[in-house]
Symmetry: C2
Subunit: 262 residues, 2 copies
């Protein structure tokens, strides 16, 4: 196993940081690595916003499902699916006039463009994670940034065609990191298929969840009201208030992108 | 610069392959590395479908905007944003009965869940790209897999809550790879901001596109009917038939996810 595969294999999310700043030079290497990530048609349909304003960090720690460690992360990078830059440039480049002369309206971004821009942003985000890892710097994804769309939009001055798709916290791990075991994953055969998608049978599900059952739930400690893993994840995650909010929030963001829907 | 940063920095997309198979062991290392990628709440909201059926590869080369190299790629991995596995498991775990006893309907995935699952799928996809790179294996993203939703859905037997968000082609690069220069990127200051999003002025746009102008358009060769870079990208990409199709297709996919919208 080469060094890159090893660090991918050993990565764990870091939510508790050593009391150590990340040198500016290392921050820049992470950002520059992220900018080398492949992007659709080399259009770079994303932006990165580095948040170093403590007041904003404190606000994010609340708005992203109340996770205080966010405010303590030495580096916060917001990845924005960004079609606004191109939409503005099209306008500046005389596209509206060109299209008018052709008797067609100028096309503005819609849901598919948003999804493509999310591709770019996330591919870049994971590149930054692996780059950081190679520098001994840990990270944690905050998907909760997709909640509270209106609040985050105002906080970052985001225009219509800029969707904050993920937030990354970076920092040197504290002393407990080495002892932490990497999270277990489902057995490969239930994630990786050949040629066709596969619906699983109850027996297959039982086998699939067996390692998770043993590692995390051997004491039978499920979320209140649940009596098995499926019910636990349903109540704890899927039907939680934060997932309901994420769905409302993403729908609100999409509305801004589909305002010109044909 | 460490080895991992170097390979991120030097990566170029590979669309022309050496006549050399990828050993099964290396394919598995790529897949297993992808499975180590961080995932939201460790729910692994994605699946990978390896396509080794030549007839299917031939079909994809057509359905993904007519790119014949897709059919020749030694390894094709489709990344599916997948909430179906959990939705099925919730049902098998008695969630419908549990919720009925509480007088509430069971919640099924919606747009926000789809977006979170896309996060997982894309984070995993980029991990596979970097893992492959470390093994000397090149890759190319095919965003066009988001087009022709109905066709791809049938081709892969995809259920409602499984969205094919990206397709990756892998293979050893052919001899021309070394001579190829990595694609240029926009200057960092126009991608990376501090604390607030930034709308750009015409002067800033001019500076931003200068390197692209010099490298790709110094001969003034724009797409038919365009007279500058903005119009070129608008006509060639943004208003192309494949981007219109991608938007239609993504909307169709989202409909399957929001059928239970509250």
């Amino acid at each position: 196993m080469n060094g890159t595969l090893k660090l991918i294999d050993n990565r764990k999310s870091v939510r508790a940081y050593a009391d150590k700043e990340i040198p500016r030079d290392f921050k820049d290497r992470i950002i520059e690595a992220a900018m080398r990530a492949p992007t659709a048609g080399n259009m770079m349909l994303y932006s990165m916003i580095e948040i170093d304003d403590q007041e904003m960090k404190d606000k994010l720690a609340v708005s992203c499902d109340n996770q205080p460690f966010i405010a303590k992360a030495p580096l916060l990078l917001l990845f924005v699916a960004d079609y606004q830059r191109w939409d503005d440039y099209f306008t500046i480049s005389g596209v509206p006039e060109l299209m008018e002369s052709r008797g067609e309206p100028m096309r503005h971004p819609e849901e598919g463009d948003m999804m493509l821009a999310c591709n770019d942003a996330l591919i870049s985000a994971q590149t930054s994670v692996i780059a950081a890892e190679s520098l001994g710097i840990g990270s944690c994804y905050i998907g909760d940034i997709m909640e509270n769309y209106e609040f985050h939009r105002e906080l970052f001055d985001l225009p219509d065609y800029a969707f904050p798709v993920t937030l990354l916290c970076f920092g040197y791990p504290n002393d407990n990191y080495q002892e932490k075991k990497p999270a277990s994953r489902f057995p490969k055969k239930y994630i990786h298929y050949k040629n066709k998608y596969k619906r699983l049978s109850p027996e297959e599900f039982n086998e699939m969840y067996q390692p998770m059952q043993e590692r995390y739930f051997s004491g039978g400690k499920y979320f209140e009201g649940a009596s098995n893993i499926g019910q636990h994840f349903y109540l704890r995650k899927h039907a939680s208030s934060f997932m309901k909010e994420m769905n409302r929030s993403v729908r609100a963001a999409m509305k801004a992108w589909r305002k010109n829907e044909s």
